[in-house]
């Protein structure tokens, strides 16, 4: 079996090779213990070849001039992960019941559950953070020209992710089911309804009928916590694949370095 190339570990962290004469070919139990982690990883890798993919994903070349602006995409992804985790735990308490249960369950989470106010606050404020980060990330991509060939498809996926993030904000806003949530959703669905020709059908679909009805809240809840997060997670996967495949761009203020031979020939 061909040996995998060694990962680029810094020299001080590498284990020194055994000195001649030491060990006598015997392996002490402590060495077994030391190698247990490596052995487990090897066992999995021998059966999945995952390490090649992991190395492809993580140890890749980045252009000169890469700076803090390039972290906005990861920041957005961590905002999404934070929303996903806090959302899962909020769903354990939430009841999408329009005749009082929804508001009561949110009140219960906020006022009575241990750390409930904190987790709900993370979800509530984190949603704004995510929208802001999405726009900053989009601005970075635009002003650095990182949407150009061959990265157009990644821009398109990013735009779909932006729309899905907006849809998350829209559907999530109804869930506390207080006056603000209710009337904002009335206005929001009616804004959707003003689209020509298809608008009325769209608002009927969102409300599940011509008026705000018994299943509107559960419909928004299902879209908010099942439909859209699944789509966002899948598209983030595609987004990251393309970033890894195509690499990142250098900032626009860096000029391409000419080949020294070529420069000599031009002179």
């Amino acid at each position: 079996m061909p040996k995998l190339p060694a990962p680029p570990v810094p020299a001080p962290l590498k284990a020194p090779p055994a000195r001649p004469g030491e060990g006598n070919g015997k392996v002490a139990p402590v060495d077994h213990g030391r190698n247990a982690g490596v052995a487990v990883v090897d066992w999995v890798d021998e059966r999945t070849s995952l390490s090649g993919g992991a190395r492809w994903l993580m140890f890749r070349k980045v252009p000169k001039g890469t700076n803090w602006f390039y972290t906005l995409g990861s920041a957005t992804m961590f905002a999404f992960l934070s929303q996903a985790v806090t959302g899962v735990f909020l769903a354990m308490y939430y009841r999408p019941d329009p005749s009082g249960g929804a508001y009561e369950s949110i009140r219960h989470v906020t006022n009575e559950v241990f750390l409930g106010q904190f987790v709900r606050g993370m979800h509530k404020w984190g949603s704004s953070v995510m929208v802001i980060l999405v726009f900053l990330h989009m601005g970075r991509t635009f002003f650095f020209g990182a949407y150009k060939y061959p990265r157009e498809l990644n821009w398109v996926i990013g735009v779909v992710l932006l729309i899905l993030t907006m849809l998350m904000s829209f559907t999530g806003y109804l869930l506390p089911f207080d006056q603000r949530a209710y009337w904002a959703t009335i206005v929001g669905t009616n804004i959707n309804g003003t689209g020509p020709l298809l608008g009325p059908y769209l608002s009927d679909f969102l409300r599940a009928g011509p008026e705000f009805g018994a299943t509107t809240l559960s419909r928004f809840y299902a879209i908010h916590m099942l439909l859209v997060p699944g789509a966002i997670a899948a598209l983030i996967g595609a987004h990251l694949y393309l970033v890894t495949k195509l690499g990142t761009t250098a900032p626009p203020w860096l000029k391409a370095e000419k080949d020294p031979e070529l420069r000599k020939a031009e002179a």
């Binding site: 005749s99 009927d204 599940a208 705000f212």
Partner: protein
């Protein structure tokens, strides 16, 4: 047919390929189509018409509105209720068609802009919307702000001395009756052609 066996019109590889694709397509459609129909079904459902009693005819003067509360959507508590302003028809000011459906005027509080709840301000004799500044006069006609048509109305009828409120209808700027429209859909001018009638709110 090149590559096919004697007497056969398609290669077996191609036949298996098409058959496999078709089986997969049928299997996917058998759960996707019902799920899709389930999700968009409410678009094609017609809302039932109901009549709700709001009070004896003596409660409603002909020069001022009385707020009443009716249930638009049953089963969702407060979220399914809406306020309706009711008054007796006044021949001196009401210019719309006077028939048995309009012995009482019932004005919807759903703003014709984006659906916020308007309130009747008696001192100004105006309906005013808190969200985006829509203003309507005594008859519900737009006099200011972004709304595209007058306030909706409800059919009314009198049963055994009590006023009942029925289905919603929309009116144009001449207060002629039209099938109920969603907020933001104009009835006058070119805008009326941008919003088709839909099954959930058909013509009455």
């Amino acid at each position: 047919m090149p590559g096919a066996f004697e007497g056969e019109t398609v290669t077996r590889r191609r036949f298996m390929n098409i058959g496999g694709q078709a089986a997969g397509g049928i299997a996917a459609a058998s759960f996707l189509l019902p799920a899709l129909g389930f999700a968009i079904g409410p678009i094609f459902k017609e809302a039932p018409h109901t009549w709700e009693t709001v009070g004896p005819i003596g409660d409603f003067p002909d020069n001022n509105y009385i707020p009443t509360v009716i249930t638009i959507t049953p089963g969702v508590g407060e979220a399914g209720k809406t306020t309706v302003y009711v008054r007796k028809r006044n021949p001196a000011i009401d210019t719309d068609r006077a028939d048995r459906d309009a012995a009482f005027i019932a004005i919807s509080t759903r703003c014709a802009h984006l659906g916020c709840p308007v309130r009747w301000v008696g001192a100004a004799e105006r309906f005013i919307c808190p969200c985006h500044g829509g203003v309507y006069d005594l008859l519900g006609r737009r006099v200011g702000g972004p709304p595209v048509r007058p306030l909706d109305r409800f059919y009314t009828r009198v049963r055994e001395g009590y006023v009942q409120i029925g289905p919603r209808y929309s009116v144009n700027s001449e207060l002629e009756r039209f099938s109920p429209r969603d907020p933001g859909e104009p009835i006058d001018g070119l805008g009326q052609y941008a919003y088709p009638s839909r099954p959930s709110a058909r013509k009455l």
